[in-house]
Every structure is written in structure tokens, then in C-alpha cells.
């Protein structure tokens, strides 16, 4: 094993630092094989020099690298040496760009650079070449749960891309809700008229496709394994079950219409002439393109649509969210009437009219053009007087309470996701005597963390609507359509395409043992030293992705392909037995111990900064690009996720004389920004307990700070470091220096 050091003197590094002495630090103190300098290391000539050493034979062969140049986030292409363990020493953004010039600063700036070189050398020694586990091979088959338009689109898209798909549908037919509609919203310009649903043609295409298998009357009785090797039991309500292996899963289980019986104020149930949108679809289908008739056979002449019925309301039993499709659906349904007979009065009473999607606005306009009346009004009650109805509402533009007559009222009720069991729900519901209808699981995951994918808000199954659409917190399982967030059919089909792309990516990645984003391509995976493990289960509980099961003896069981490589398990382990080949308690521990800590009277404190590599570290880099000055006493170590921070690092740092520790992770909570969803939150919980450690050491609690930092906090991040410098000035140097 030979470690090669490469010190770049370009970008001003050579002008600002004494590189001769840094070379000596690398070789003498860092104890690496050699240290070469180059005045333009990222140039072809510089990279060729490194590659030549990697390709050398015998004793000259270099197997690990220390690149002493710019930030690890810069020049990633040039300095990509595959799986070769590489430490990047950040002398540019980390040192010269944040330190002022001038002789009075030279000493501390040089010390900073030397420390970072010692740290890089120590880190690389603790790193090992990462290899894939080979836990699973390639399985080209995608399981799609749900046979509505979302599921069918997903299956057809998978087939088109050359993969196989199996659709598991619990009812006896394909088509889902779209199959019950008379017509659908227009999907193409000019977006003016309702169009055929196309469901029949889609079912035919699915049935004709020899890459697609359909299981009707079927449910998923059990799902175990990981991406690339999901093992599924498919139970059938009419025949024998089946066992099958899949590479990835798309969950397209759609929604259940809200029960309008919860809305007695609108006379639903009292009058047969108050119907839901879905019921109107059936009436329209029965009428074909002729006159739509009520239950009593009378032709409808005056219809009123009540938007947001039991939706966007905080009232008990109502849905607080907007279901996204209902305004366009009422627009479409009003056209059913107007297109058959323009003399029919159609009024849409809305609070906010929302027609999302490219064609939404045009469709709305087209309805206005067809003389559908839109009134901004909030309906309070619908009274049934004989067979006619009186709709009482407040006109929100004219600000008056008023009413309208109608012979049919259509309620725009919302959608509730079919997401299965809420695995994060508090378990003590039974205790307070409430009888809850048990929710049936959809995937029946044989995961320690629960049978279904975690829910985000309001029971919708997703992990982040904006940053990671389709991605659940179970790698290899993707949600699409209204189970993920409220949406219309067109959006659900777009969703299906996205989710299938993700599923294919999971199949390809897991086949070669590669991580999904944000550590895409990472071949390392966590493993644990069984002898040391106390079976405390912290790792299995804290893993945000449910990657770890438990064996019969209570030891963790890792599933490489389910893992996203965040290191939260490593941070959680109280006995520090979890590690990655290229990232471990040692790789960080060795770095923080490699820093030279001057004595108490030197007036040179040392502050350890553990910064999330996804947000906080780039924010500091960008602050450096703006030449934002920072203290010469900080030593920054990037971490995969703040969740990977093990308290042992904090204890070690404080015990070896650091004066302060600053931790920077992403925003946690419901509107989190953490790339690993829960990592930052877990770290915050863990660090809340660090106070005990500090008080047993007799240290001030302010010496440790945990912050939420976003990638945009370019001005704020360095200020947080200045704050710690002030704290140290105030409380004094640590007494633990040797």
C-alpha cells in the first residue's frame, strides 16, 4: 500500500502558502509515501501524473490518494479516480479564500493549511476501497400495484423501455376510477372539449403486450427483500396465489372518494337529486350524449355545482386539502350539459377556482365561452323542497347571502389516498376506547419498520413533493398518481412515467450495487462488527429508509440495495460498530485527532465544524468564493449527513482540547430539506443529549452548537462560525489541552 500526495500550487495556493513546508508536513507528519507538487494539478498534465502513479508496477504503485488543492466539490471530473480511496484537502476554498492577506495572518493561515493536510493524510489511511456486495443480480421485472390509468401507463412505459411488468389489481377489471368516467379533461391543445377517456384502448394495449402480466382479483400478501430481489406473494380472491420475484415496485393504488354522507348540510342522502361528481359521471354515461336525467326520470334543466364540498375545510370530518382535479372536473361536467343543450342553466359556485396543468386555464375559458356561469360563492346549505333544491350561499364578490334554485346539485368532494397502513401513527389509539376501522396494508412489507411506505402529509405516500417526487422512503418502491398527492388523470399518467423511470434506475443500480441519489454511484455500504453489537436496535430504528431488518437473535440485518448510504445508523450506534469501507468512525475520528491543538495560553483556539456535505459544506464553499473572511481557528470536516455524526466524535474532540464544536445539518421537520429525510432530525435529537457529556466534563454547554443550514445560507453559515469564536472569547479556552 502506497499513499501518494499531490499538492497543487495553482489558483494562488503557491503564492499564499509556504508549500515547501507543507510538503514536509505531508510526508513527515502525515506519513504518506511522497508529496509531489504541480502548478496546475487539475490540468491534463497534472491528472496524467497521478494516473501514471496509479498505473505503476511494484513498489511504485500508488493505491490511495491525497489531493491537496481545492474543495472536494470542485474539479470532480478531473479528480475522479473511481474506487481509489481519495482524500481531498481543501486549501483553496477552505483556507486561502477565507483568510486575509498580510504578514500578521501568515502564521495562522499556514497552520490551518498544515492541519488540513494532516487531516487528509489521516483520513485516507482509515479509508478502504469500496466494493459492491453482490447481494443481488439484475431483475428486469417491475411490480405495479393498481390497475388504473396510472398503473397501466406505468406498465406500458416499462414495456416500451424493454422491462417487464406485472399489474396487481384488487378488483375484477382494469381501468380504476378513469374507467368509470363518461369523458376526461382534454389532454391536448386547444383544451376546449371533454374527450374520450381512452381507457378501453389502454386496456387492450396492456392485454396485447407480452411483457405485461395482469393479476385481477389480487392483492399483495407479502413483500420481502430489497431492490433487485423483491420476493412477493400475490394472493388471489378467486384462485391460488403466486410467488414472484421483482426488481422494483411502483405503487399506483389511487384514491377512495370522500364519503358524501359526511355532508348532511348539503342534503346528500336526503335528496336523490344531490349527487357526487362520480355519480354524475354514471348519469352522463347512461345518457350517452343525450339529455342527462335525474333519478326520477326528469331531464335536468338547471344544475348547480358546489365546489370544495367538505374539502379545504378545517371542520371536523372534512378534508383540509384541495384535491386538485375537482374544479376542472366540474368544468368538464358542466360541459356535458351545455354540449347537449345550451339552454340548460349550469352554475359553478366556487371559492377559488383552480385548474392546474397546462390546459386548465383554456378549459376554464372554454366553459365560460359555452355560457357556464361561474359565481364566487360559499355554499352553506342545500335544502330539499320536494324534488327541487334550494342552494343557500354567500356571494363573495357582492358580499351578500343569497340563494339559487336547482333541479340537480353536484358536490365536488375530495380524494383520500389509498396508502395503506400509516406506520408512524401513534400506537395508543386503542387505549382511549376509540374504535378504529383497521386499514388494510397494501404492500405487506416484511420490513421491521412496518408493512407500508411512510406517509408524508394527510396520508399521502411520498417523501418530498418537490425534491424527490415518486420516491418513498423505501428504496426501490415508488408511488405514482393520487396515492402520492391529489391530482387529475393526466398528471397521474405523467407521474406514472416518472415513477417507472425511477424503478428502472433502481433495478440498474442495485444490479451493480450502486447507491441511488444523493450518493449516486457510491459502492460502499454499511456493515457492522457482530462481536461488538449489543442488539440495542438503535440502527434499525433510526435508519430513515427502513433498510435494516433484524435476525432471529436480534442482530441487525443490512440490505445493501435498500440503503441510501447516509450513515445515520453509524451515527446512531452507541458502541460504534457500524462502518463503511470509505467512511467510518475512524475516517472522521482520525481527522479530528490529527489537528494540532496549541496550548491553553497560545490564544489559538480550535473549533471543530461538522458540516453536511450536501448543503452546509457547499454553502461554506460559496461563502469562500465571495471571499467571505472566516476565523483561522476553524477546522471543517464534511459529513455525509449530519445524521451520521456519532457522539463519540464530539466527546473525542472536547476531550482532546477543542474549544468548541459546530454542527451544521439541513432543515428538519415537516418542511425538511435533509437529503436523507430524517438524518438531520435524528442528529438533532441525539445532540440534545450532549449536555450530559458536557456537564460531566465541567464544560459550558455553549461550546457545542447545532444549526440548520440551507445551501442558500451563504452569508449566514460563516456568521454561525464567527458566533462560536465569540463564545470561546467569552467563556475562555478549554482546559483539556495537553
Amino acid at each position: 500500500m502506497k499513499i501518494g500526495g499531490y499538492l497543487c500550487t495553482g489558483c494562488g495556493i503557491g503564492d499564499r502558502l509556504d508549500t515547501k513546508s507543507l510538503e514536509t508536513v505531508a510526508v513527515r507528519e502525515g506519513r504518506i509515501g511522497f508529496c509531489k507538487t504541480h502548478d496546475f494539478l487539475c490540468s491534463q498534465a497534472g491528472v496524467d501524473m497521478i494516473n501514471a502513479d496509479l498505473a505503476a508496477e511494484g513498489d511504485d504503485k500508488v493505491t490511495k490518494l491525497v489531493i491537496m488543492a481545492c474543495s472536494r466539490r470542485a474539479k470532480t471530473e478531473a479528480f475522479n479516480f473511481g474506487a481509489v480511496p481519495t482524500a481531498r484537502v481543501n486549501l483553496r476554498e477552505g483556507v486561502i479564500w477565507i483568510r486575509p492577506e498580510g504578514s500578521e495572518h501568515e502564521e495562522t493561515t499556514q497552520e490551518m493549511a498544515a492541519d488540513y493536510i494532516r487531516m487528509g493524510c489521516a483520513e485516507v489511511k482509515a479509508m478502504h476501497q469500496a466494493d459492491a456486495s453482490g447481494e443481488q443480480g439484475k431483475n428486469n421485472h417491475i411490480m405495479i400495484v393498481g390497475g388504473g390509468v396510472t398503473g397501466m401507463t406505468a406498465a406500458l412505459e416499462a414495456s416500451k423501455a424493454g422491462y417487464y411488468a406485472s399489474i396487481i389489481e384488487k378488483s375484477d377489471r382494469l381501468g380504476g376510477v378513469m374507467g368509470q368516467l363518461h369523458k376526461r379533461h382534454p389532454l391536448r391543445s386547444p383544451y376546449q372539449h371533454p374527450q374520450d377517456t381512452g381507457v378501453a384502448a389502454m386496456i387492450a394495449a396492456v392485454e396485447a403486450d407480452d411483457k405485461i402480466t395482469v393479476y385481477l382479483n389480487s392483492k399483495v400478501a407479502s413483500t420481502s427483500g430489497a431492490p433487485g430481489r423483491f420476493n412477493v406473494t400475490i394472493a388471489s380472491s378467486v384462485g391460488a396465489g403466486t410467488q414472484a420475484e421483482f426488481g422494483a415496485i411502483v405503487q399506483a393504488t389511487g384514491f377512495t372518494p370522500y364519503d358524501a354522507n359526511n355532508l348532511p348540510e348539503f342534503s346528500y342522502g336526503k335528496s336523490a337529486n344531490v349527487v357526487t361528481q362520480l355519480e354524475l359521471e354514471a348519469m352522463a354515461q347512461a345518457a350517452g350524449d343525450g339529455a342527462i336525467k335525474r333519478a326520477d326520470g326528469k331531464e335536468v334543466k338547471n344544475v348547480v355545482f358546489v365546489q370544495c364540498a367538505g374539502q379545504r375545510s378545517e371542520k371536523e370530518g372534512h378534508l383540509s386539502w384541495c384535491s386538485g382535479h375537482c374544479c376542472s372536473t366540474s368544468v368538464k361536467q358542466a360541459m356535458y350539459f351545455k354540449d347537449s343543450n345550451p339552454e340548460i342553466e349550469t352554475t359553478i359556485l366556487f371559492d377559488d377556482l383552480r385548474t392546474p396543468g397546462a390546459g386548465g386555464e383554456n378549459f376554464y375559458r372554454s366553459a365560460q365561452d359555452k355560457m357556464v356561469t361561474f359565481r364566487k360563492g360559499k355554499v352553506s346549505t342545500v335544502e330539499a323542497a320536494g324534488s327541487d333544491l334550494k342552494v343557500n350561499f354567500k356571494d363573495l364578490i357582492l358580499n351578500e347571502d343569497t340563494h339559487m334554485e336547482a333541479d340537480l346539485v353536484v358536490l365536488a368532494t375530495g380524494m383520500m389516498p389509498n396508502a395503506g397502513v400509516n406506520i408512524d401513527a401513534p400506537k395508543d389509539d386503542a387505549a382511549n376506547g376509540e374504535v378504529k376501522v383497521p386499514v388494510e396494508s397494501i404492500l405487506n412489507l416484511q420490513y421491521r419498520q412496518g408493512p407500508d411506505v411512510p406517509q408524508l402529509v394527510n396520508g399521502f405516500a411520498d417523501s418530498h413533493f418537490i425534491c424527490f417526487p415518486y420516491e418513498t422512503r423505501r428504496t426501490g418502491i415508488y408511488t405514482a398518481g393520487p396515492v402520492r398527492r391529489p391530482m387529475d388523470g393526466g398528471q397521474a399518467q405523467t407521474d406514472a412515467m416518472g415513477a417507472v423511470m425511477k424503478a428502472i434506475q433502481a433495478i440498474e443500480n442495485s444490479a451493480i450495487g450502486r447507491a441511488a441519489h444523493p450518493r449516486s454511484g457510491d459502492l460502499s455500504f454499511p456493515s457492522f462488527r457482530k462481536e461488538g453489537c449489543t442488539q440495542c436496535k438503535r440502527c434499525t430504528v433510526e435508519c430513515p429508509f427502513g433498510a435494516i431488518n433484524e435476525d432471529e437473535k436480534g442482530y441487525p440485518q443490512y440490505n445493501e440495495a435498500r440503503c441510501r448510504r447516509c450513515g445515520t445508523c453509524m451515527g446512531a450506534c452507541p458502541v460504534q460498530v457500524i462502518s463503511f469501507k470509505n467512511y467510518s468512525i475512524e475516517t472522521v475520528g482520525a481527522q479530528l485527532k490529527a489537528v494540532e491543538v496549541p496550548d491553553e495560553y497560545s490564544e489559538k483556539p480550535r473549533i471543530l465544524v461538522l458540516a453536511c456535505e450536501n448543503d452546509a459544506y457547499p454553502a461554506l464553499d460559496m461563502a469562500a468564493m465571495k471571499r467571505n473572511e472566516s476565523s483561522a481557528f476553524i477546522r471543517v470536516i464534511p459529513v455525509r449527513c449530519l445524521g451520521s455524526t456519532n457522539t463519540i466524535w464530539i466527546k473525542d474532540a472536547l476531550g482532546s482540547g477543542y474549544d468548541g464544536v459546530v454542527m451544521m445539518g439541513c432543515k428538519k421537520g415537516v418542511d425538511y430539506q435533509c437529503h436523507f429525510v430524517k438524518g438531520s432530525e435524528m442528529a438533532h435529537v441525539r445532540m440534545a443529549k450532549i449536555g450530559d457529556t458536557l456537564s460531566t466534563m465541567n464544560l459550558e454547554s455553549e461550546r457545542v452548537a447545532v444549526h440548520e443550514v440551507a445551501i442558500t445560507d451563504i452569508d449566514r453559515a460563516p456568521k454561525l462560525l464567527d458566533e462560536m469564536v465569540e463564545v470561546i472569547n467569552r467563556v475562555g479556552m478549554s482546559p483539556f489541552k495537553f
Partner: protein
Amino acid sequence: MSTAVNQAMVEKYKGNFLKEVTENVEEGNWVKMCMQCGVCSGSCPLGPHWDHPPQEIFMMIRANKREEVLSSTSMWMCTSCYNCIARCPRGLPITHIMHGLAHYSKRIGLKPKNQPTEKFGQMFWDNLTKKGRVNELKLGLGLYFKDGFAEGVKVAMSKQKLGMNMMKAKRMSPMEMLGGHGVSDLAGFHAMLKKAEELEAARVGENTDKK
């Protein structure tokens, strides 16, 4: 005559005022396209002084508030500044609709009483149609005295200097008091107006006859 037309319209449209506006008011077919965003009302420099700013007028039309809209003074207050047209995201020609509504209300006899804009408009029209040219002296004096003799003398005195200057600059002639100038083919001009009136009456008649 106007009340008869009004009666005919009421019967023809039976409570569907939006349709009545669509078919009879100049640019009225645009009213249904309003999406109630309120940008027009917010942009109108006079909106705060109107009983019903444009957005509200459009909503009232859909809410079948026929009498209230047609007898309102609001649309008579429009100064044709075109702010609303420039800003309406739906492209409604709001200014024109305001004038269309005002004109329609006058035609069917529902115009508000003693509305100064309406009075001035009529005065201007009568003045213009007489000779085919506006007689500024008569129009100005007519305007001064519209609220009675005493008020007229007061206003005329206060504008005395302006009048003298206009005469000096030859922008106005006292001789206009005696007949005044006009178009060369006065008979032809009057025939033209008569024809236009006939066409308009026929159009309205057609709309009210056909039920």
C-alpha cells in the same frame, strides 16, 4: 318608446340578464369571460368612488341584478383611461363594455336621473348634430348654465379670463352665437344620421321581436 323596449327585453330574456347583455350591449359578449380577479377594480383610478367597480358590475350581471346594473351611475363614471383594459388578464375590453352598458341603459330608459356625464353627452350630441360641427361657445355656455341661472353666472364669471384668451388666440369667436359654422352638405349629414338611427332601431327591433 324606451320603456316599451325595456318591457320587451324583460320578457324576452326572462331573468337571464347575462344573455341579454351578451346579445345587446356593445362588447357585451365578453362579460361571461371575466374570471373575477378584481384587477380592473384595483386599477380603475375612479373605482373607489363608484357604487360598483367593473368586476362587481360583471358579477351583478351574472347574478341577474338587471335593474341595479342598468340604473347604476357607475359605468357613467368611466373616464376611458384604459387602465383596466391594459391590465385585464382575460383581455376584456372593459372600457368599451362600460360605455356599452351606459348606452344600453339609456336606450331602454333605465339611465340614472341627473347624471352629469349623461347630461353633457346629450348636450354635446345635440350641439354636434345641429350643424355637423361643435359650437364651442354654445356648448360651453350650455354647460355653465346646466345647473340653473345663478350658478351659470357664477361659473361664467370665473371662466371669463379663459374665454377672453381663447378669443384673442382665435380659438373661439363671439360670432358663433349667431348660428355658427357648419358642414357644407348639411342636408346630406342629416340624412346620414337618420339612416344610422333607422339601422340601429331595426337592429334593436329585430332583437326584441324575435322571441
